[in-house]
Symmetry: C2
Subunit: 199 residues, 2 copies
Amino acid sequence: MKYPMTIGNLIECFKKLPGIGEKTAERYALSILDLDDEILNLFADSLINVKKRIKRCKKCHNLTENDFCEICQDITRDKKTVCVVEEPKNIMSFEKAGTYHGMYHVLDGLISPLDGINPEDINLDSLIKRIENDEIEEVIIAIKPCIEGETTSLYITRKLKDKNVKISKIAYGIPLGADMGYVDPLTLEISLENRQQIS
Amino acid sequence: MKYPMTIGNLIECFKKLPGIGEKTAERYALSILDLDDEILNLFADSLINVKKRIKRCKKCHNLTENDFCEICQDITRDKKTVCVVEEPKNIMSFEKAGTYHGMYHVLDGLISPLDGINPEDINLDSLIKRIENDEIEEVIIAIKPCIEGETTSLYITRKLKDKNVKISKIAYGIPLGADMGYVDPLTLEISLENRQQIS
């Protein structure tokens, strides 16, 4: 016995989402039967339209339904600082923290020669051009600590070394609220290396 | 800054599914951008149609797109045995195990006077009628072990005590592959109580 076709189809669709296996897909598909029609129509409509409506901002490559994203259009923000991130969702993390008021630039990937991802495959050219044209004063590299991240960071630093622009990197170390006993050795090592004198 | 509207809507829709919070909904919504149009159309279509197409089987209350479910229509199955389960998805679990070839009956709930669920609120009348009309020989109660389950089981047993029908209950005990050290005390107790003489 199999599930009726529509439920079977729903299960298959849910399984396409990241990290969803058979059991969870089944649970989600069956829970759809309990949702209001209003939500289901919005859900279906959003699924069909999201790829048509969502574009990339022509300046920073953030997700937007217009030519330029909300942040690039915001005249109150500091246009002289650019925070370089890997993915659009990283912007949301910074925005939720709420203390950064500059611009962003989404790379859409990190340099990784082993995976065949070269500098020209990610949004690096547009970053360099932007720094030249928009008279950016500081570039903050906010990429996760990993080999690809370091390579990308190094590439940006080299490309900009003759430009009159300050380059910084967000701090790596022990996260707030962490229990020292559970911090991994590499993070401990980096937190020692990057220690700051306080007196 | 917020996500563009279509993505925001998708996030809200995913949050309606069981156990999905803000972060997971965000992850699923963004992953939709990477799916093929074909899948998205099927997904949207299934969401809209699932509630219209899926009905309950007129005999056993299983999910179906027709008047009677696949199992009730299957002439090769043993019509004299009925396995009573709480939800339609329980049927799928038994079918995956693949050794049971009788019929099912979905109660759609368990008797729970504290929650205001009385015998007439679940599919018990139709079960009793079925047993009388279809000349059922054995009723297997396959409900999870809990107070509501026991109450429901007791109710069925009493209702059927004058009928010429065998009533059984699936075995509760240590699941296969379990480590004895991790089995909870109640399961251990029930497995002792229900011990079987082997020699």
